[in-house]
Amino acid sequence: MNSKLKLEKLNIHFGATHAVKDVSLEFPANTVTAIIGPSGCGKSTVLRSINRMHDLTPSARVTGRILLDEADIYDRKVDPVAVRRRIGMVFQKANPFPAMSIYDNVISGYKLNGRVKKAEMDEIVESSLRRVALWDEVKERLKSSAMALSGGQQQRLCIARTVAVQPEVILMDEPCSALDPIATLKIEELIAELKEQYTVVIVTHNMQQAARVSDCTAFLYLGELIEFDVTKKIFTNPTKSQTEDYITGRFG
């Protein structure tokens, strides 16, 4: 398997707290990898290091290497802005821009490339919204506020906004935790489709969700990687006893 993304001995500190310890992981291209573990295990912290979001936290210190197509994104010469254009992110709580219309939200990231023709924008907006199965629901009201959408629609809008930038990797930080089961189902179906084009990494506290959507699963506990394998194996025949305890609900 050729890996799109590789973490090598990743360590993350916040001030004196050692949040992530020596985590090494490989994410193959066009797969969905789930990162699971109890609250506070560092799974979101790992995810946020992959598009250099920790750069925004002054106390955070990231060491080790993260390779995107063999290039270290923490290299001194690398521009974090360029990294984030190739590695998009969807957050736990849908965060559309409240002052923008649905249309403007979708195109907001793409427009950062510079001047774009109206026809090109229309095309990107339509294809991105179709990609997240939102087009038919909103095509009549593209100019209305994004805040008029339901929570699930807002989250799909945020995914459309991420997709519109045409990244290679999409990171998802518990994207369904604020959604009802039907909206969750829609997002999960969407994730399965997204992997045809993108490499997806999803953090989830919902083990059923990890089992449903992912190809590989990493189990983190107290900042350490306990086990990483094909999802089926993790959930049916884990090697480590800690993994088994967690997925069978004995702790966490």
Partner: protein
Amino acid sequence: MSDMDSAPLTDRRMIKGDAIFKGVILALAGSILLILLIMMFEMVKESLPAIKKFGGRFLLGREWDAVQGEFGALDFLYGSVVSAVLAILLATPLSVGAALFITDIAPRKVGNVIAPIIELLAAIPSVIYGLWGVLVMAPWLQQSVQPWLIEHFGFLPFFQGAPYGVSMMAAVFILMIMIIPIITSITKEVLLAVPVSQKEAAYALGATRWEMVRMALIPYARSGVLGAVILGLGRAIGETMAVTMVIGNTPQISLSLLAPAYTMPSVIANEFAETTSKLHASALMEVGLILLVVTLIINIMARLLIWSVTRGDTGARA
């Protein structure tokens, strides 16, 4: 448990106390409203002679002659509105820039030092601003800035005439300096209230810092920033002392910023102690009334403006 232990269901003492408390609070709150009403009533009453004598001519008239008993307030109205609006136009970008610097650009330690210093500026009495304006800034304007403007931009109507120093320009600058702390500190609070999730949304799309400010911060915070600007405008239009000291107190309407002008608060402050007639006092009172009405109109327009730009984005305050 015996009956002796349970408290009685009615406590006369407490009920009486609550009634007294309610009465006192009601009286205090009512007195504020009453003071306002009495003030308005007195202003209208005192202005009546001037209102009756001049009518609409008072608003549009340009003659202000205490000896002849002819009063028109247009020059003062012009001076007040123009100086305040220009000051706001200059102060807003500076203040928003300073607030952005404190909240999002400077390291937290630097921001924590700068913010209180800027806020301290708001505590300086306006007469000190005026003193500095007339002793330091006005001579500097007269000797350096204004001659340069005349030489290079003298063909524009805004920079014509002789450099006096004390001028509309001096008033605009003093007002600008005085309202920057207000707009900056409110804008700072508004920017700090923008949720991190909004900033992260922009960054995750590959926005640079400036693009994040434009995409996430400013649109989210715009109603609050507008509110800050309105407060600044209110302060600028009512400012008396500092403006009186640097504007030159010459009633005239000139496009040139180098020319002296006069504002409504200034004329009231300058002339009230030495009114020559009942009509003169009444005319000054009417100027005060106009100032009050202008302030109200600005506030109402501002509310409408804020309401119209924030309509729809219900999430902005959620």
